[in-house]
């Protein structure tokens, strides 16, 4: 690769936001036809750096060279002009528009004053065929799969003649199968001479596809290495800054009686299609039951139906034998269910409330926090002080708004609140999303401690590593159906991958797994 010319170079980029230095003197070289991975933890500054390259932010110091010439990229328009394209993690697609309309937006071919949609469609089809993307130009974005939407994003950059393509966490929303297809597409693009920057925190993908890997930690470049001379462990240590223990330590579970029994649970979606389809499983005291699956396969709806936040159309949910389907959230809470929600800002916290007020969200109405309808702030404050100490929640005061806490401390506050309520069942959805390694370890330890104390834990996650590390039993959900379940000790990673893409367990081996699951 060494002989290929440098197409883009970032030199000494520094970007400050109030309170933090997101990028600290970062330099990076991108060569023609290479796939260059940008590795770092959440919040390390990867996305900021790429938004600078794409012209969405301006660097406070440093500059960018394209094809050896210094440039000022003062907006996406300028980046496009310099043949830089970006596939954002959250797609920048206008949902009610068609594929073709989205692709041509900002660069529309016209006939007279009329947009030439027909011509655009043909051009899109042609590009799609060239790279094997199989995209239909005239369907609406809201009607196509997430994987397809990503291809539209890729086409958007190609349509604009991009030679440098930035992919921001492109695999986060894809199935195993779609990831493989994406990898093929990326390879094809590189073969055609496109240079690709791949932002990711997944080591396996880097090993599979990247040529070079630049690691960023806390806004600084740790190093740039050739992937073929490197190892997963080496990259991980560079990313985190210390040796990493991939294994979570836990003893074998000693499950007790069934706490949660879900039978034939079905939830109807907006279009009348079942988003949770006849789901049955049970969780016993003292075990962690993991549910694997790609985001958007009914996990959210399943959890919301169990916790009473969403109406189910059929089936049964029992906790300790008590039927909870059709109960209110309050009744479910009262039955001993704690819920660490997927989206801590949307559900977990009232960001404008103080930490103290947030620490009683869900049991504010009970004594001692409320007596005969009147709030008791003293009791709330005592509770918050106690929990903050116990769970190491750091903040300037329990009276500060929850908004001002860091993500990790917000999550700790939620976990503190939910675990100390003395629940029978803990439902944790993506409990470590967006946390740094230290906080992740803390959360994992808390969940295992709860399980060791005889709680039943339902863990929903999109991160297989996390599920493998924590679960005692494991199920896979696809389009609202449980495709199969197994003991974590006997998991078959290939099979799990297939199930996540919609292939049900059919073999003899899977029957055993299922039987063991039910035992």
């Amino acid at each position: 690769m060494g002989q290929q010319p440098i197409v883009a170079e970032l030199k000494g980029i520094t970007k400050r936001f109030p309170g933090i230095v997101a990028n600290d003197n970062i330099s990076l070289q991108l060569r023609k036809g290479e796939i260059h991975a940008l590795l770092g933890e959440n919040g390390a500054g990867k996305s900021t750096l790429m938004n600078i390259l794409f012209g969405l932010y301006q660097p406070d110091e440093g500059h960018i060279e394209i094809d050896g010439k210094p440039v000022v990229i003062d907006g996406a328009g300028k980046a496009i002009e310099l043949r830089i394209g970006m596939v954002h993690q959250h797609f920048k697609l206008v949902k009610p528009f068609t594929v073709a309309e989205n692709i041509i937006l900002g660069n529309e071919p016209t006939k007279g004053i009329k947009v030439d949609i027909k011509g655009a469609g043909e051009r899109v089809r042609q590009l799609s065929d060239q790279y094997g993307l199989k995209v239909d130009p005239h369907v609406r974005i809201e009607d196509i799969t997430v994987g397809m939407q990503q291809r539209v994003e890729i086409l958007k950059t190609l349509y604009r003649g991009a030679d440098i393509l930035i992919f921001d966490e492109p695999t986060a929303v894809l199935t195993v199968q779609e990831i493989e297809e994406l990898i093929e597409i990326l390879r094809a693009l590189a073969r055609e001479g496109k240079s690709i920057i791949l932002i990711t925190h997944k080591l396996k993908e880097i090993m599979a596809i990247a040529d070079t890997c630049t690691v960023i930690r806390r806004g600084k470049v740790v190093g740039s290495v050739a992937v073929k001379d490197s190892s997963e462990r080496q990259l991980a240590e560079m990313m985190v800054g210390r040796s990493v223990n991939f294994q979570v330590n836990k003893e074998k579970s000693k499950p007790g009686k069934a706490i949660l029994e879900v039978n034939g649970l079905t939830v109807q979606g907006e279009h009348g299609k079942a988003v949770v389809d006849n789901v049955s499983f049970q969780i016993r005291a003292g075990e962690i039951y993991g549910i694997a699956g790609v985001d958007g396969n009914g996990q959210t709806q399943l959890v919301e139906a169990i916790t009473g936040m969403r109406q189910a159309s059929g089936g049964s949910v029992r906790v300790h034998g008590q039927e909870l389907l059709g109960s209110s959230v309050r009744q479910v809470t009262e039955a001993g269910v704690s819920h660490i929600p997927e989206d801590r800002h949307k559900h977990g916290l009232v960001l404008d409330f103080s930490v103290s007020e947030n620490m009683v969200l869900g049991n504010y109405y009970r004594a001692p926090y409320t007596r005969s309808g009147i709030l008791n702030y003293k009791a709330m404050d005592e509770n918050a002080t106690k929990l903050a100490a116990e769970f190491d929640v750091r903040m300037s005061s329990i009276h500060t708004e929850a908004r001002s806490l860091s993500g990790g401390n917000q999550q700790k506050a939620i976990i503190a609140r939910e675990l100390t309520r003395d629940p029978e069942l803990i439902i944790a959805v993506q409990p470590t999303r967006g946390l740094d390694v230290g906080a992740i370890e803390f959360v994992h330890k808390q969940l295992i401690e709860a399980r060791n104390a005889g709680k039943a834990v339902l863990l929903v996650s999109f991160e297989l590593e996390e599920l493998y590390g924590l679960s005692d039993r494991l199920a896979v959900i696809y389009e609202g159906r449980i495709m199969g379940q197994m003991d974590a000790d006997e998991k078959n990673e290939e099979q799990i991958g297939l199930m996540m893409a919609g292939n049900a367990l059919g073999s003899a081996a899977s029957d055993t797994a299922l039987r063991q699951g039910e035992s």
Binding site: N51, F54, A76, H90, K92, V94, F97, L105, G106, K114
Partner: protein, 318 residues
Amino acid sequence: MDTIGLLLNTTLVFSTALILVALGGIFSERSGVVNIGLEGLMIIGAFSSAVFTYYGHEWGLGGASAWFGVLMSIVLGAAFSLLHAVATITFKANQVIIGVVINILALGLTVYLVKSLFNGSGQTENLSGIAFTKYNVPFLSDIPLIGDALFKAYPTTYLCYLLVFVSWYALYRTRFGLRLRSVGEHPGAADTVGISVTKYRYIGVLLSGALSGLGGATISLTTTYDFSHTTISGQGFIAIAAVIFGRWHPIGAAAAALFFGFTQALRFQAGLFDWSKSIPNEFLYMLPYVLTLLVLAIAAGKSRAPAAVGEPYDPSKR
């Protein structure tokens, strides 16, 4: 004219202003800016047209006076909406509050100016004879019923129907429309392909000002023939309802506005029917509002507003 023809004709006349203002509302909301201030912008238009038609006549513009008034109502309507645009787009102020402010300011300012200009009188000089008169389209106006209903109207009414078509074409067939709608649905997507969210939102709001101004002008120049503090009383809000009712689509909104115009015509022509005489006026007056509420209650979940409407665009929160 026979009864039905007259009723339909009145419907057409009354709905003209509503349609124009609703079109303005569509441009603004499609670009992502809620404009509760349509009422105030109409007031500006009604005031400007009444004043400048009068002065145009004084200055010897003769038959062109009314068109001069119309032009000024468009210009000043757009100019006043600039206040909305600067506050909500550049300074990211709350769109609903600024809309309320526009309404308060417009009424205060115009009545203040009327009193200053016309020696303390609360209304402008009467424009009968200077303002628009109905124009019969040759041949077409001779068709029975249809001729009465459609082809004996004010020039502004014909202009209004032309603008419905133009708006539809602009929004759904041109580069401008595609970009404007993208800014209202997903400003982040527009921004990342190099479209200026700010520019298109300014255009959307200014168009709402221009069209509302024109809508207001049609009221002073074809219905009231002067301007006072009651000339515009709620039409801007009905236009907002028409926008929602018509699902943010020019033709849908025009249909909704026609329907509201019909209920107004009904009350205006209430004497024409035996059955309507027994209904107290107030109930006829409130009909459009009651119906809007009912329709909203039935269809609220189904109609979809532009996804980003009401939210200032802040690129750092992507």
